[in-house]
Symmetry: D2
């Protein structure tokens, strides 16, 4: 039977100055099913302790490093139920493996690892552990993304013929990584970020969304990765043509030097009978355009939406939900899976929640895009 | 010194089927400073207990009624720090007074009471208690509302000349209150809702936003209240001309029979030099139009915004925040005020947080609008 | 049989510096059925001659005043077929009467006259003449306005319950009439403009659109006219509640001191089952919101539109048409009516083209709104 | 000295059923400087005669073919001043050469010819003739396109780093060319359309807009042309990466199988300091996004726009202009150039009007894109 208490989360990463740590905390707790109780928030013990205070935790559970957290928590009767990983990319793999080996399910920020090889190894570690492992491809949590996914699967658009996905930011238009901006520094450093810059940081979201919404798989990639800002080590702009397994072509465009853009992710899916258009910055609306008939604007929380879409909203129509709420959907689905696992010891994630398989494909995408760009030609996926 | 723990909230109302209870829970807890620990969620003990389970509370703290909660909590060493009131309108006053008299600060849903006379009495009770009392006029929590307020106060628009505020919904286009829809039933019942229907439920939000953003006070009202749906006891559509204390005129239009609208609140403020336009359903954008110069779109979380606006966002630009986040801003400001009061025993709310004064003015507005509509003429405020 | 030549237009007004003269010329000629051949473009003979050159007319047909034009043209074998009136308001009546008495059909800019009494007289003159008389309420020529009109008439929205019409401009935010701006000067001068300022200039458009789209008639008015800019003689801001003959209420808001607005006319019509929203500045889209079902965006020139809407577009979907094209629709309908009259000597305008009846109602509206505002109460229409 | 009459236009193509013929007629005549007086509207004499009646021409000037028109007009004292070519692509070249050889300046629809080789020859013919030759890349006539061009040239955005241009239509989602739809038939037939389908029909517009607005030249192309609809002979979907001569990359995406799209051309230009975004379907607005500062929406006809942008609007702000007005700007500029040539016998087009040079580049683009797509690799431009 399901526990009658909140699930306990231990977080690795997310200390002072981090953007994504507090986001995970809010998202995890938003639906009232999880509480943050422990963490190894920083590689600096003082900073980890300070973060613990900020989160109003028991000081004893603000650990100096993730190994200490795992060791100590294993022994507690009120131990954490799972580990949330919110570090820079290069730590995703070692933390995840350590947690899984200690018997803790894992909810990890994306990308799953820093390299494709690591991802393959991690996939094995997850399989071996038999534990739930979720990946926070945030955008999969939006209600309208669920509606798009439902519409494609239902066949209402006919065969998918063309996809256009964009993820444009402008915040790396200047070389701010050279002046100590923390978020920019690790993302621009191959040692912490991996082989992909922009393509790893946000291109993987765009890639994931493409496969997630259409149910199609990428089978070929022709990418052009550029480092537009002089001196930058990793790509900050990427365009890729993707060949899907049904023959459709997808155009993926992502950039972090698109001056003036904030977080402009948008997806368009063209089928034989109609098309979908969604913008992350205006997430509660979905445009559905038909070959014969008026354009439809579907609004989040409306009664006419699919069950899939309606299952993940909390408010009546016209009350905007946003990024945190989408994020929280993934935590809610993870918590349900985790409770089921605690009951049955069978790890089974819903298909709506990105898993290690999605993580491996995302890392493969980075790998293949980098290869294609070097060769200036198509490569098999 | 500030407490190193989360503040404990006891909720009255918000049981199964309620819309606003879970909203208050999420909003209160979102910033990690408050936790829901007790409640009298329903006038039915079983339903209150069920709600306690849903919220994963200690069963002993899911009370059968608010009086029981107040009595029991007073005696606990880990007593609640404040009471949140989320009942239908007619209970706002008795619960608030009981809580204040027992020494508990109050965070109340709007409107403050069911009648103007009650509001005046409640204002006295708040003053007598010396305790913090906050009112959740949600829209005051949006970052772009804070930006508008700042812009008007800064004089950048020149003198305010004209205001247009709208709050349009369509969900009462049919007489659903006659078929048992819970939300519609109490709102359409004068005994539970008070003298105002639409004007009380959402018109008060529009009224509050007008004064909140412009810093002006309404001094005259010419209102037309209609019950458009046959058989409806209270107004479901209202238009009012408002005379502001600087001579400007405001047009307030609100309806719950605007078929097809969801929660379409929008505010336009026209000054001598330019104007502001904001839509609640697209809350992270603010249009600023100048007499001489391009229209500006200001985006939430941008570096160029006022400190007032920036203080109440949690995410980088382009990551949408919504209704729950705005609501949470009010709880955050209330929690800060409450901690200060616990330290100093001086109740001082920030001017950004709607208080009992705003509550009294809101009830006065309903009273004056009803009077004006009956007389079909202007009335003094 | 219909003439196998273009109809010949003689214009009164529209000389150098005028905005609306060239607009009428373009609109009249756009569909290839009319050509401007003569004019009395200014009360200054030199300016009239200069305008004739600009329009590349035979110099002999650039007349010094409208009486001269009418006299001379009557005698020509290639005489003008009709007179277009584009002067300031106070000349509409005398020019129209002179033209009609000389046997020339008339296409007049709005409002029909400068006063209500004049309009009543003009209506008689039109009836007596038996000639076609059209009024250029431009917005009636937009395809999406025709679609709205069709949708209301078809009953798809159910009974109309509420209307909100706005027409907001900001160009009179400063007293530019005092510094010689020609457009502002005559509009702000009661002697040239009549009793209405803003309400006459643009409020009449909003009033007309309301009746035109809904097919309802205004039966009561409660208006508030303001002169916001110090020293201005006529109103520059007006709000009016309108009672329609089916019991619905309309809120009409118009202003010329709405700083930052350009020509923001928008109409919303709420029925029992759904609603319409249209913005003149984005004229090729129509939002249709349903109580149960997705919002629809109908796009101009689409195959699914009504015949009424499709009849008045010239381009495939996605090729924007605008103000001039809408204007040209009225001239096209007038030219068809004129040809029919030349064939049959029966003047019969299509119901889609605003006529003297609309002109009389528009002048009545100004009259009633001014009266209501003085009395600060409802008046019968 | 400039002629004091309208210029006389003879049109080739544009008979019954044609879309673009009436568009050229309206555009040419809109500004009152040109009149259509003659034409060879169809390869069928009866259809040409019928078109002449529709256009209300002298029946003697509705010719059976373009050669007859050129011969006959040469002999008239009131001969046409220039020839407008609006035929399917394969006739552009022979008609243009015949006209130029007979001494008639030419205004041609795009693309300039059916093949690159023809374009090179035509360029020589134009040079030899010394006559004005204009090309109607319509979108160059929009005021906001002029504003973008001005902004890039002025350096306000800094160096251009990235361009994204799209032109999406959905009307060829089904193989309508097989059922006799005239517009689809010739566009899908290599014999009439040339080597490019979608890329020739609309891709050339996107290509032109890119170079026109940025002032940069394409130096390399990597294109993927697809025939998505089974059985279609020419491409109906194309994506191309373009390398610009300053090192920037442009992503060009064009399709005629994007179900639900109408005429969705949009351009985004990213510079070091900010970016531009413009949508043809909403042409009177231009979004300017800055790295540091609010997004700006610039509105057509505003006083703050560049002289370049202001020179090509006819109406005050808020009065929408559209496709026909943009088209008319090109004819206006052509007519001014033609008058200057008549005065001075020096053919000098303003840089704002697309010329044969743009035509050659457009044909080169088709040629290079087809080549690149065959090779599946980058090619030099």
């Amino acid at each position: 039977m399901a526990v009658q208490r909140k699930l306990r989360m231990g977080m690795v990463g997310g200390g002072p100055g981090a953007f994504i740590g507090p986001v995970h905390r809010i998202a995890a707790e938003l639906d009232g099913k999880i509480e943050l109780v422990a963490g190894a928030f920083s590689q600096s013990p003082e900073r980890s302790r300070a973060a613990g205070e900020m989160y109003k935790l028991d000081p004893a559970r603000a650990y100096a490093d993730y190994k200490a957290m795992i060791e100590a928590e294993k022994k507690r009767s009120d131990a954490i139920d799972f580990v949330a990983i919110v570090t820079p990319n290069h730590l995703h793999m070692p933390v995840a493996v350590a947690a899984l080996e200690a018997g803790f399910p894992v909810m990890s920020d994306k990308p799953a690892t820093a390299t494709y090889a690591e991802a393959v190894d991690l996939e094995k570690a997850v399989a071996k552990s038999g534990l739930p492992y979720g990946l926070t491809h945030t955008y999969a949590g939006y209600s309208m993304v669920r509606e798009m996914r439902h519409m494609v699967a239902s066949g209402k658009l006919g065969k998918v013929r063309k996809i256009a996905v964009e993820y444009l930011q402008g915040w790396l238009s200047n070389p701010i990584e050279t002046s100590g901006q923390k978020q920019a520094s690790w993302r621009s450093d191959p040692a912490q970020s991996g082989a992909g810059g922009c393509i790893g940081d946000i291109g993987t979201h765009a890639f994931h969304l493409t496969e997630y919404v259409t149910g199609l798989k990428v089978v070929g990639v022709n990418a052009s990765l550029l480092s537009v800002v002089p001196g930058r080590k990793l790509d900050d702009d990427c365009t890729a043509l993707l060949r899907m397994d049904n023959g459709a072509q997808s155009v993926l465009m992502t950039s972090q030097i698109a001056a003036g853009e904030r977080n402009d992710m948008r997806l368009r899916v063209y089928g034989e009978k109609g098309s979908l258009e969604w913008h992350q910055e205006d997430p509660n609306r979905l445009s559905v355009k038909w070959l014969d008939g008026p354009e439809e604007i579907r609004h989040a929380a409306a009664g006419y939406l699919s069950d899939d879409a309606r299952a993940v909203t909390r408010l009546p129509g016209g009350h905007p939900e946003g990024y945190l709420e989408a994020f929280a959907v993934l935590y809610r689905e993870f918590s349900d899976a985790l409770i089921a696992w605690q009951d049955s010891h069978t790890a089974s994630l819903p298909s709506t929640l990105p898993s290690i398989e999605a993580g491996v494909r995302g890392m493969r995408f980075i790998d293949r895009a980098v290869e294609s760009s070097k060769k200036q030609s198509w490569v098999e996926f």
